[in-house]
């Protein structure tokens, strides 16, 4: 029972981290129709910049400065890269971001090398917040939860309650009309891209110390972010949040409990073949949930695409 509470917290942390990445990605997609393959690379840049800054100025300055640098970089990429490619259609845009992802990974390896960086949790957060039945919950996890929730609330407020949010929402659906009303829509696009990548940067800064800062960190998270926004519904912030949490809990619980396929199949009424190693279905019978935990989100995505192609919270689109 206590373990369930612990796993709920762990899954929440994973989910919220995923949300910070997918929030930016889904915003960018809904605005420009571009799937930004380099999004996870900006997450990696955030971690590396923050590590470098933390060496000189400490963790907290890294948390403040690194996302800003990443955001500015993102805005520049939009202004001088994507905007030029935009006129040639979506495929060149996709290829552009894909190339950018490879380029960033190589650059990171070139500058910082291939080994993991000693990026550490700040000392002030190096204690156990509380324990549930002997399972320590590090204070840093609580810090991660609060940071991401705060960011979600701020985003929600800006998008729904302010004038800027109004213009962004309007530019989402009717860019031509908004432009005709005298708003600078390309500037809005650049801003959204910058903020989206800065969000990824924040995720990198706070994930770097716990998930380790190494050149493969973008690759490990890259595909799961797309799965999240497809499940949540492309362009929906609320959908991204719900999907992130579902994925976080789904993977955490299936890793934490050794559910065996054999038990499930027996429960349905199949009998275990004997001897099991001669059976053609051997691999299926010997599966355990931790082994397939990381593909469960992909299975969920396929199911969503079959039964609700526009995602959980997506608007039906042509």
């Amino acid at each position: 029972m206590e373990l369930i509470a612990v796993n709920l917290i762990d899954g929440l942390v994973t989910g919220l981290l995923l949300f910070m990445l997918s929030a930016g990605l889904t915003l960018i997609f809904s605005m420009m129709g571009v799937l930004n393959f380099a999004h996870a690379s900006f997450y990696m840049l955030g971690a590396y910049f923050a590590f470098q800054i933390s060496v000189f100025l400490g963790f907290w300055m890294g948390l403040l400065i690194a996302p800003v640098i990443v955001g500015v970089l993102g805005a520049l990429v939009e202004r001088y890269g994507l905007r030029r490619v935009h006129q040639y259609g979506h495929v060149p845009e996709l290829i552009f971001t894909f190339g950018l992802a490879l380029l960033i990974e190589e650059l990171v390896q070139f500058i910082w090398g291939k080994s993991a960086m000693p990026y550490e949790i700040p000392e002030i957060l190096q204690f156990t917040a509380f324990s549930i039945a002997g399972n320590a919950i590090p204070a840093y996890k609580i810090f991660m939860i609060f940071t991401s929730v705060a960011i979600f609330l701020v985003l929600l407020y800006i998008l729904t309650r302010t004038r800027v949010g109004l213009i962004i929402q309007a530019a989402l659906s009717y860019p031509k009309t908004v432009e005709a009303l005298g708003h600078n829509v390309p500037l809005v696009f650049m801003g959204v891209f910058g903020v989206g990548t800065a969000l990824a940067g924040v995720a990198g800064v706070i994930a770097g110390p716990v998930l380790s800062t190494f050149p493969g960190m973008a690759f490990v998270l890259g595909s799961i972010v797309f799965v999240t926004i497809v499940i949540g519904g492309l362009g929906s912030l609320g959908g991204a949040l719900v999907a992130s949490l579902i994925i976080g809990w789904l993977t955490t619980f299936s890793k934490a409990y050794n559910v065996r396929m054999e038990d499930i199949l027996n429960g349905i009424g199949f009998t275990t073949p004997d001897p099991i190693w001669d059976s053609a279905w051997r691999d299926l019978w010997t599966l355990t949930s931790p082994q397939i935990a990381d593909i469960l989100p992909y299975i969920l995505m396929v199911l969503i695409l079959v039964f609700r192609p526009y995602g959980l919270f997506g608007k039906r689109q042509a």
């Binding site: 373990l3 612990v6 796993n7 762990d10 942390v13 994973t14 090398g113 291939k114 080994s115 993991a116 960086m117 000693p118 990026y119 550490e120 156990t128 324990s131 002997g134 399972n135 320590a136 590090p138 716990v210 998930l211 380790s212 190494f214 050149p215 493969g216 490990v220 998270l221 799961i224 993977t251 955490t252 619980f253 890793k255 934490a256 050794n258 931790p290 082994q291 935990a293 990381d294």
Partner: protein, 413 residues
């Protein structure tokens, strides 16, 4: 003007020719390992150690035979078995007779087969395989051959030594085994279960688990399971990012017992663990760096750090490879008749710079040496990753697994 160019060219040519004339005397060792891509850090570290050991332990001591020097020639195999076979052919075509390789047992399996075949077909042009790190037990069992020599303790020997130390600790009641889901991870788990069952049948194995290799973002759920199982210690064969992330996650979530690893040090891992690994992280392996066993060993490490400040001699056995090869060539009196050199190398006993006795077993060409359980600590003379932390020998199993059985049936020329 043209005249000057011509004169300059011919001068350069003359220098080049005389240079080749000098180098022709060198005994070349082909180093075939990843020098680019994700495993480049380990490959380059091995290359640096080989170069330094060849210069320091052989060339500066006057070389072998009548003053011939060792020269390390690097080939990048991108850790692909296919690419390795191409590089092997290139090396052989360049007249190189000694092949050193270590990263990935998959590559070693491909190379040992190819070298065996090559040597049977080309008796005048044979080569010797110096395996300095590939630890798949099969290489000195079912797949053994006369030309392959392993200088690292294989996975079974390491586990044998590790379980000796665990078995001696009466406080141990529950053990958790976790590894990457592929052949090596499974081999480690199987060896742990086997040896623990023999030596301490009362110890309960509370977890034996494989996770996807290189794909796990967050090890927290695994760490929770380990905590929930109330294990006294954790054994893992993980390497690279999987090693670092698993270890950090387990420690962060409150585990305080020892974590026994095969590859929990150097190449950034030591620095990334830092203070958090002290008291828990252990590495089983050969080669005692701390405390240094002799002035000679200390001088070797100091000299290496001066020559290559960004890397560490984290594979100390490479010094043994170089010294034993030099000794074998001197004993055989030839660097061209490989069968003679191989006969000199098998059965050789040698005193390592790292303080252990070395014996290359005739029966399977597996070296027998002291295996250490080393602790991650800041109480060291020589650190890794310039981090202030390093490995210090804590327990030593003398001549580990010296009488271990082998299935090797070696055919000798």
């Amino acid at each position: 003007m043209k005249n000057t160019t011509m004169r300059g060219l011919s001068a350069a040519l003359a220098v080049a020719i005389s240079a080749t004339a000098v180098y022709a005397e060198n005994i070349k060792i082909a180093f075939i390992d990843p020098l680019s891509g994700p495993f480049a850090a380990t490959g380059n570290q091995g290359l640096a150690t080989f170069k330094f050991a060849a210069d320091e332990l052989v060339n500066k001591e006057g070389g072998v035979l009548d003053g011939q020097n060792f020269e390390i020639v690097a080939f990048d195999n991108k850790i692909s078995p296919k690419e390795s076979l191409i590089q092997l052919q290139v090396a052989i075509d360049q007249g190189i007779r000694f092949i050193a390789q270590g990263n990935s047992s998959g590559v070693a399996n491909a190379l040992t087969d190819a070298i065996d075949k090559h040597n049977r077909r080309n008796p005048d042009n044979q080569v010797i395989f110096l395996n300095y790190a590939a630890v798949d037990p099969a290489l000195t069992n079912d797949k053994c051959n006369f030309w392959h020599f392993r200088f690292d303790a294989n996975a079974d020997i390491k586990m044998d030594a590790l379980t000796d130390v665990i078995a001696a600790d009466d406080g141990v009641e529950k053990v958790y085994i976790i590894g990457q889901d592929y052949s090596f991870g499974k081999a480690v788990a199987a060896a742990a279960v086997k040896f623990l069952g023999e030596k301490r049948p009362d110890v309960e194995i509370v977890g034996n688990e494989l996770h996807p290799i290189g794909k796990v973002k967050d090890f927290t759920p695994y760490a929770r399971k380990i905590m929930a199982s109330e294990a006294d210690l954790v054994i893992t064969g993980n390497w690279g990012a999987d090693m670092l992330n698993l270890g950090k996650s387990v420690l962060e979530n409150g585990f305080e017992g020892p974590i026994y690893t095969y590859y929990g040090a150097a190449d950034g891992i030591t620095a990334a663990f830092g203070e958090s690994g002290v008291g828990s992280l252990r590495v089983v392996g050969e080669g005692q760096i701390n405390p240094p066993v002799s002035d000679r060993a200390a001088a070797f490490v100091t000299g290496f750090k001066e020559a290559y400040p960004d890397t560490d001699p984290a594979q100390p056995r490479i010094a043994n490879v170089v010294e034993m090869l030099a000794k074998a060539i001197n004993e055989a009196g030839t660097a061209t008749d490989m069968a003679q050199v191989a006969y000199a190398l098998e059965g050789m006993e040698h005193d390592s710079i790292w303080g252990t006795k070395l014996k290359m077993r005739e029966i399977d060409h597996q070296i027998i040496q002291d295996v250490h359980i080393q602790a991650h600590t800041d109480d060291v003379q020589f650190d890794y990753d310039n981090s202030g932390f390093g490995l210090k020998a804590e327990d030593t199993v003398t001549m580990a697994a010296a009488d271990a059985a082998t299935t090797c049936k070696m055919k000798r020329p």
